[in-house]
């Protein structure tokens, strides 16, 4: 009677190896992205000096400003000095935003101030998605009547087909102007009135969440249908279990596994900043900061923002991968 149970510590050690490999790939990608962004800024026409001086640019003034911002050094030197600073933890200062009379706004503080807005938006959107999409998906998987199935299908396809900026405009128009549930543009900073801010963020969160809810519901439904075709469901029925118990006790458990990965990817997408929604609702999040910094050629801010977005996307994917291994006993440590 052969008999094998994977020992505990081998899982941990293999896990460590996997972890190190992932960290190395993260560092390499971050490096690659930072070089890519730096090159992009060399190629794009116009730099921060022309952007600041506008039509007032006189050669002497340009020269003075260029030296002041340290832009007169060759690009390679600038890149490595910048990278050195970042590694030392100094993210540098924005070229455009001033903190007070004579100090420019440090990038870390600027992003630190904007980040909670995007994170809050992401959090509310994820709550909306989880709360609405999962029950919807289960209902859709278990429903027997054809009509509801077709309605759900068409509804989800339509929800996914609406461009996010159009959805933003519709939500603002419908809830803001017609129903007056919120005053468009009335963003209240989370520092002063947290709940007021949350109440306002619900509406941009709706326009972020609607297409994602449709996707998650469809994904969960398909996952449940495939799972309910498997053998262990038949075994459960053979034990005299009711349809409800099989659906929630057995099928949902297994169907949720791939859904968790899917939700992970959605988190990465939202936290990376839903640029267009922030534009329509004029939310001072990192998405909007990225767009304005690109157009004002505010290089330090853009670089750190891109690094942040890349970091978040990769870390979230990694966490999802690890989570998948932890919660799904089927996968022994490959």
């Amino acid at each position: 009677m052969e008999y094998y149970i994977a020992e505990g510590d081998s899982i941990r050690r293999a896990g460590m190896k996997y972890l190190v490999k992932k960290i190395v790939t993260l560092i390499m990608t971050l490096f690659l992205v930072s070089v890519l962004a730096f090159l992009a800024f060399q190629i794009i026409p116009g730099d921060v000096v022309t952007s600041i001086l506008g039509t007032e640019a006189t050669p002497e003034r340009e020269e003075a400003l260029r030296k002041e911002l340290g832009l007169d050094k060759p690009p390679v030197v600038r890149y490595f000095r910048w990278a050195g600073n970042v590694l030392k933890g100094d993210f540098g200062e924005s070229y455009r935003y001033s903190k007070n009379m004579n100090q420019m706004m440090p990038v870390a503080e600027l992003i630190g101030d904007k980040l909670p807005v995007t994170l809050l938006l992401a959090a509310i959107s994820m709550v909306l998605i989880a709360v609405i999409a999962i029950p919807l998906g289960v209902l859709w998987a278990r429903t027997k009547n054809r009509f509801l199935d077709v309605v759900m299908n068409m509804g989800s396809q339509t929800a996914m087909a609406i461009p996010s900026f159009f959805l933003g405009v519709l939500v603002t128009y419908l809830f803001g102007i017609l129903l007056k549930w919120f005053s468009p543009g009335g963003y209240v900073s989370y520092r002063e009135n947290f709940w007021g801010c949350v109440r306002y963020l619900i509406f941009p969160a709706i326009s972020v969440a609607i297409p994602k809810i449709a996707m998650t519901a469809r994904f969960l439904r398909n996952s449940m249908l495939t799972e309910s075709g498997s053998d262990y469901v038949r075994t459960a029925y053979s034990k005299g279990a009711s349809e409800r118990r099989v659906a929630y006790g057995h099928v949902l458990r297994n169907a949720m596994m791939p859904v968790v990965t899917f939700l992970g990817m959605i988190v990465a997408e939202i936290v990376a900043g839903s640029i267009v929604v922030e534009q329509v609702f004029s939310l001072p999040g990192i998405g909007k900061l990225l767009i304005s910094s690109i157009s004002t050629r505010d290089f330090p801010v853009v670089e750190i923002l891109i690094l942040y977005i890349t970091f978040v996307v990769i870390v979230v994917y990694f966490l999802v991968d690890v989570l998948y291994r932890v919660i799904d006993p089927r996968i022994s440590n490959k």
């Binding site: 794009i44 026409p45 116009g46 022309t50 952007s51 600041i52 001086l53 506008g54 039509t55 007032e56 640019a57 006189t58 050669p59 002497e60 003034r61 003075a64 924005s94 455009r96 935003y97 001033s98 903190k99 007070n100 009379m101 004579n102 100090q103 706004m105 600027l110 101030d113 904007k114 405009v169 603002t172 128009y173 803001g176 102007i177 005053s183 468009p184 543009g185 009335g186 900073s189 534009q279 329509v280 609702f281 004029s282 001072p284 909007k288 900061l289 304005s292 157009s295 050629r297």
Partner: protein, 533 residues
């Protein structure tokens, strides 16, 4: 993206050597609130008798106002700020020795009086005695000396305000008088003394908040969100300001601004397009006034086909300015044909007749044939994508001028690309945008000299250069005006560029706000605005 170019601060009236300044307050006429204010006239809302400030609190005092602003502040340092959008706001916090009023004329501010020496080389200012900084300290001659030396570059060698570069020295005569000597006499230098006066050493102190003498004092600034200022209780002009707090809120773009206006979260917003103004007609007061900028289809005189004067003239003839005015600015714009503002009456000569404001297709075709282009011309028309008005004008004119065989392919570019390629690089055929001006004739005309570094249309006419030099040098008002007019005629004859209109600024104002004054140059003066309950 910034709407208009930045400008230096200059006044309209060339005051004779010994001019004094007008009294503290001046009254203006009541403005009309109809949406299509008559173009050209100075429209401003203001004027009421002096009111005992701490007398009855009921009528005008108190209240918070949110002003929608399109572009973020580029610097909180008054001497370093370049964007017009920033100066527009800092006007409420800082004041110079002199100050501009809504008619563009100079009035005294931190200085109570000033005099200019015979040779125009020394200026003497006497300080007003009850002027205080926001931190409560009295303004002293030392502060003035420090501010002027910092701005002119005498302090540490870097010139911050270009027009003050010619200053030689700033000396404290006594407690209340400061004397400034300049290297070369220039009638227009007086207007550079509107540069902000800041407490001694505050420019260099680490992390110091902006301190000035203006009607409002700095409270806070959050990038991308807005700048908040509050009432300066001991402002030297009695009775002002009325409002307790003003929040200059940064709005991400024209489209979302409209949504916010409809949601009533903004009280005052300018740069409205004509159609947006029409949208808001019943919720807001809509006021309009000329923006004192010259919108034109700039033609690169150094590049085919516009190196041929006949082709340039053909474009001027073919262009239907009225159509553009009607479609884009709802008829509120002032049609122009020469590089001069109608509001500068002394220097303006109406040359609209030369090419007419409608479309003269036959003349244009004939000129094109003569110029060797019998079946018309094809060129690329570059337009900065962030100026909705210019994009719409381009679409209107592109469609309309096809009749004359003038086909232009519109190319929208990002703002910085426009600055790099068109303004600095000069590699373009034609471009629609606007050059702003201030109240001095020289600002607009100086750039069209052949060798001038801002001559991005490569206009070169020896005759024009010669006449302009004479105009600049002349010290006699009448003579200077005639020379300017001659220069305008030469430019229009040479059809250096096809001017279109002086587009209006249209603003939406909360229904129960009053007292807003239009200024000829970029100023959002909130000190005179009040709530009539």
């Amino acid at each position: 993206m910034k709407k208009k170019f930045s400008i230096t601060l200059m006044a309209l009236l060339l005051v004779a050597a010994l001019g004094g300044c007008a009294g503290g307050k001046s009254s203006g006429n009541e403005s009309s609130t109809a949406p299509d204010a008559t173009q050209g006239s100075q429209a401003s809302v203001s004027g009421q008798g002096t009111e005992d400030p701490n007398g009855n609190k009921d009528s005008k005092y108190g209240g918070k106002v949110v002003v929608g602003v399109q572009q973020d502040i580029d610097s909180l340092d008054p001497h370093k700020a370049t964007a017009a959008g920033t100066k527009e706001i800092l006007f409420n916090i800082f004041e110079g020795l002199l100050k501009v009023n809504e008619n563009g004329s100079l009035i005294c501010a931190v200085a109570s009086d000033y005099s200019v020496s015979e040779d125009g080389l020394t200026y003497t200012f006497t300080l007003r005695d009850n002027v205080k900084f926001h931190n409560g300290a009295n303004v002293t001659a030392e502060d003035v000396k420090y501010s002027l030396e910092r701005a002119s570059g005498l302090l540490d060698g870097t010139v911050l305000v270009a027009s003050l570069a010619t200053l030689k020295s700033v000396d404290v005569i006594d407690e209340h008088t400061v004397q400034v000597t300049t290297g070369s006499a220039n009638l227009e230098l007086i207007y550079s003394f509107t540069t902000a006066i800041i407490p001694k050493g505050s420019g260099e102190a680490e992390g110091s908040n902006p301190i000035g003498t203006g009607p409002f004092s700095f409270v806070s600034y959050k990038p991308q969100e807005g700048l908040v200022v509050k009432k300066n209780p001991d402002y030297w002009q009695e009775g002002l300001p009325y409002l307790d707090e003003v929040n200059f809120k940064i709005v991400s773009g024209a489209d979302s601004a409209l949504l916010e206006l409809k949601g009533h979260s903004i009280d005052l917003y300018s740069y409205l397009t004509d159609s947006q103004a029409a949208e808001l007609a019943n919720d807001y007061q809509i006021l309009a006034a000329p923006s004192d900028a010259l919108q034109a289809m700039f033609l690169n005189n150094a590049v085919a086909p516009f190196d041929n004067v006949k082709v340039r003239q053909a474009v001027c003839y073919a262009m239907d300015r009225d159509l553009a005015n009607e479609f884009v600015t709802g008829g509120n714009g002032a049609i122009i044909s020469a590089p001069m503002l109608p509001t500068l009456k002394d220097y303006y000569v109406d040359l609209n007749g030369t090419y007419g404001s409608g479309a003269n297709i036959e003349k244009a075709k004939q000129l094109l044939a003569e110029a060797g282009y019998p079946n018309g011309i094809e060129f690329s028309l570059i337009v900065p994508s962030n100026y909705e008005a210019h994009v719409q004008t381009a679409e209107v004119l592109a469609d309309q001028m096809q009749a004359a065989g003038i086909n232009c392919k519109i190319e929208l570019v990002e703002w910085n690309t426009w600055l790099e390629d068109v303004y600095k690089g000069r590699n373009y055929q034609a471009s629609i945008c606007a050059i702003t001006s201030d109240m001095t004739p020289s600002y607009l005309m100086v750039r069209f000299q052949s060798d001038h570094k801002k001559n991005f249309i490569n206009f070169s006419s020896a005759e024009y250069d010669e006449v302009y030099k004479k105009a600049e040098a002349s010290m006699n008002l009448q003579e200077k005006a005639n020379f300017y007019k001659q220069a305008e005629e030469i430019f229009v004859k040479e059809a250096g560029t096809a001017f279109i209109q002086d587009p209006p600024i249209t603003i939406a104002l909360n229904k129960n706000l009053a007292g807003y004054k239009f200024y000829p140059i970029y100023v959002q003066d909130m000190s005179t605005v009040y709530f009539n309950k």
